[in-house]
């Protein structure tokens, strides 16, 4: 059923085979390395190392989810990461470094995990205005846990209620008892909204994810959910871009021709492209012109407002950097950290080998 998606990914990466930075920025580096192996082409050490690390994270996710399940009361919905990876030809071909958990009481879950030895990653103040709690590093593990009280959502709308998502939820594809996942149609729309907030249309991987989930639903169901959640335009543009990018001989949709040209090219977006997408195109998909204008103002304001604990000079410097970057042609490398260097937290890779190739 989803063969066209993987054939599309193959075509896409075949055209950009040598551009490691672009493949990584779009999250397709593991699929590209797997394809190279399948075709008997050489694989550099770095992609091979990324594949090993992805395999470790794939192995580590179910026991970590079991542990969290045992620690935390109440329903848990698993979003993105391993839940979407289960739809890939091999789950270890979809990079992820965190487990995104949607829960009804994120504060209580966060406190419980901290009590159990999970440790905050980075500066917790940075997450005061974020849609999830500060990320937590699992003890002795390669994965980070992010606890969400609500899905990321465009600021001109309202995310679906937890209860509504829970009512339609199914058992997680990870097979961990007691862990649920949104219904496929809900999940596809949640991913489209998440990607829109962070982009819009920032990475090819997001479109592959959306397409893989959408394959499990009828178009009518997806359209109905989009309508219900006020995401008709976002959904139509996202799924249109996915089909345009992945389907054989499909013409490029106009966003891919105009402001998301980094997607078919599989290159990092330029800063000017990222900013115009975030400040202009993203908000303009609001249902009404009034809400679009208000959203533009809020988005720009949010990017330029002081961060918690940020001093005056630091703020001026950051705002200056943001404004200069908005009009520069340099790549926006915010997306190039899809797979972080967490190798050391797992333990050394010990090559236990024998024979001539040891």
């Amino acid at each position: 059923m989803s063969d066209w998606i993987w054939a599309g990914v193959d075509r896409l990466v075949a055209n950009r085979g040598g551009d490691a930075a672009g493949l990584r920025a779009h999250g397709l580096h593991l699929l590209a390395a797997h394809r190279a192996h399948r075709l008997g082409l050489g694989i550099d050490e770095e992609p091979l190392r990324a594949r090993r690390l992805a395999a470790v994270r794939t192995l580590a996710a179910p026991p970590l989810l079991s542990r969290i399940r045992a620690l935390v009361d109440g329903p848990i919905l698993l979003l993105k990461g391993p839940e979407v990876a289960a739809r890939y030809p091999d789950p270890a071909l979809r990079p992820f470094q965190d487990l995104d958990l949607l829960v009804p009481d994120p504060g209580a879950v966060q406190r419980r995990l901290l009590e159990a030895g999970f440790a905050p990653v980075g500066c917790t103040a940075d997450f005061a205005r974020h849609h999830h709690e500060a990320p937590l590093r699992a003890p002795d593990g390669p994965l980070v846990v992010e606890v969400h009280g609500a899905p990321a959502w465009p600021d001109w709308g309202h995310p679906p209620r937890f209860g509504d998502l829970l009512a339609a939820a199914a058992a997680s594809e990870t097979g961990v008892e007691g862990i649920l996942a949104p219904a496929a149609a809900h999940h596809a729309l949640l991913l489209a909204a998440h990607s829109w907030v962070h982009g819009p249309l920032p990475r090819a991987l997001d479109l592959v994810d959306v397409a893989a989930l959408a394959e499990e639903c009828s178009p009518g169901t997806l359209d109905a959910v989009a309508r219900l959640w006020g995401l008709e335009r976002v959904w139509a543009t996202t799924i249109g871009a996915a089909v345009s990018l992945l389907a054989d001989h499909a013409p490029l949709s106009w966003p891919l021709l105009l402001w998301a040209r980094h997607l078919p090219a599989l290159r990092e977006p330029l800063q000017i492209e990222s900013r115009s997408a975030r400040w202009l195109w993203g908000p303009c998909w609001a249902p009404t012109p009034g809400r679009a204008v208000a959203s533009v103002a809020r988005t720009v304001g949010r990017d330029l407002r002081p961060h918690p604990g940020e001093g005056g000079s630091a703020k001026i410097e950051r705002v200056g950097r943001t404004l200069r970057g908005a009009f520069s042609g340099r790549p926006d490398n915010r997306t190039s950290t899809a797979v972080g260097p967490v190798l050391a937290t797992v333990g050394p890779v010990t090559a236990v080998g024998s024979g001539e190739d040891a």
Partner: protein, 90 residues
């Protein structure tokens, strides 16, 4: 009688192309087995003996039987030391 071993209960595995990635869930360490070591692991995990693993290594990698025997013994020692396999009582 050639000894047999089995993977430790805390170990989970995942193939990556010709290699095998092992995660020891108890100690939060992971290991990468080379293609030839993967052949040995697969034989052991399928309840084969050390001698079976040596034979398979010779067949698939065209190595000298004596060298293969030493390499398999060394690998099994490494796996035991890392708590990745445990002996099966007969």
């Amino acid at each position: 009688m050639s000894p047999t071993y089995r993977p430790s209960a805390s170990v989970s595995v995942r193939p990556v192309d010709n290699e095998l990635v092992l995660l020891d869930g108890t100690r939060s360490r992971y290991f990468v087995l080379t293609p030839s070591a993967t052949v040995v692991w697969e034989t052991i995990a399928a309840a084969g003996t050390v001698a079976d693993a040596t034979t398979r290594l010779v067949q698939e990698f065209a190595v000298d039987p004596h060298v293969a025997e030493q390499d398999v013994a060394q690998l099994v020692d490494d796996l035991i030391r890392a708590n990745l396999v445990e002996p099966v009582a007969r």
